[in-house]
Amino acid sequence: MPPADNDRQVTPFPAGLWEQPQPVVPAAVAEVAEPVQRIRVPASMLYRYTPGAAPSRFLRGLRDKRILGEKDPVNGDVYVPPRGMSPVVGLPTTEQVELPDRGTLAAFCIVHIGFGVNAPPTPFVSALVLIDGAAVSVYGTLLDIPIEEVRIGMRVQAVWAPDEELTTSFENIRYWKPLDEPDVAPELLKGHM
């Protein structure tokens, strides 16, 4: 027998709780045209962002077109991009593992409404790519393929920025493109999606 679902016994709000009476406003203000109903109060704050130790190691590798994951010290899973910690065991990742710039499409979505200054023309394919040897997938864009041919399990290859444009940025990988290799069976992607 399932436990009693006490959380669902919700007390109704008292009558009138969400009703706010109209204030009586002096005529000099009440009778003006277009009373204020909304305000625009944008807030902008500048930070000096530092990524931390493990992400810095990863970003420096990208400058040399190297993808450096980091290994879980207990179960050996390789995280990319590394954030410094294995989320499964809660211990620091310290051993770097160089990964190839190839992988398998683990999931995708066809984007019809783009946003951001760097988004490709719509429609385009946003992708989760499981890089060979990694335990988790990375986010990117898949181009150079008709949208109707995109499928989970297809092999993909990173397309890097020109050498003279390489920086310590994940944007060094401009996008991913199809790789002419046999597809990976979707069941082999289980647990990595």
Partner: protein
């Protein structure tokens, strides 16, 4: 060490509700409104519900454009977004006819008990910054 500038922006567009809306409309018209609490005291800037009893408040009243400094702190390192570009005084000001104090800036040096008056912004759009600043009232106590 790697570092990069990061700007976080919130393009807030807020609804005011009828009480704050009336107050901000008033500022646009160079008038300041408070609201009468259950105990008869005038709260300015106005609030929708009584601070003591939580009863809805409805009687908005006009208060003066002059008032008295009830506390102050001198700001010599101004920050982005503050109403005056340079050094100023952050102050709590109880406007004539009000029983609570408004937070704003004074263009100049004042101390507790000094009289100040509103200097209106040339272009007003229904924001607290329609009050450009307060300024000391010459010879006023």
């Amino acid at each position: 060490m790697l570092e990069a500038p990061l700007v976080i922006e919130y393009p807030f567009n807020r609804t005011t509700g009828p009480v704050i809306g009336a107050f901000l409309t008033g500022l646009r018209e160079q008038r300041v409104l408070g609201i009468r609490g259950v105990d008869g005291r005038v709260v300015c800037p106005p609030v929708e519900y009584d601070p003591q009893t939580s009863e809805p408040l409805t009687e908005m009243v006009e208060v003066g454009a002059e008032g008295t400094v009830t506390s102050w702190s001198r700001v010599t390192t101004p920050r982005d977004g503050q109403p005056l570009g340079g050094a100023h005084t952050l102050a709590l000001i109880r406007l004539d006819g009000a029983d609570t104090s408004m937070l704003h800036v004074v263009d100049g040096e004042v101390v507790t008990g000094d009289r100040v008056r509103i200097r209106w912004a040339d272009e007003r759009e229904g924001l607290i910054t329609d009050i450009a600043a307060f300024e000391p009232v010459e010879g006023g106590v």
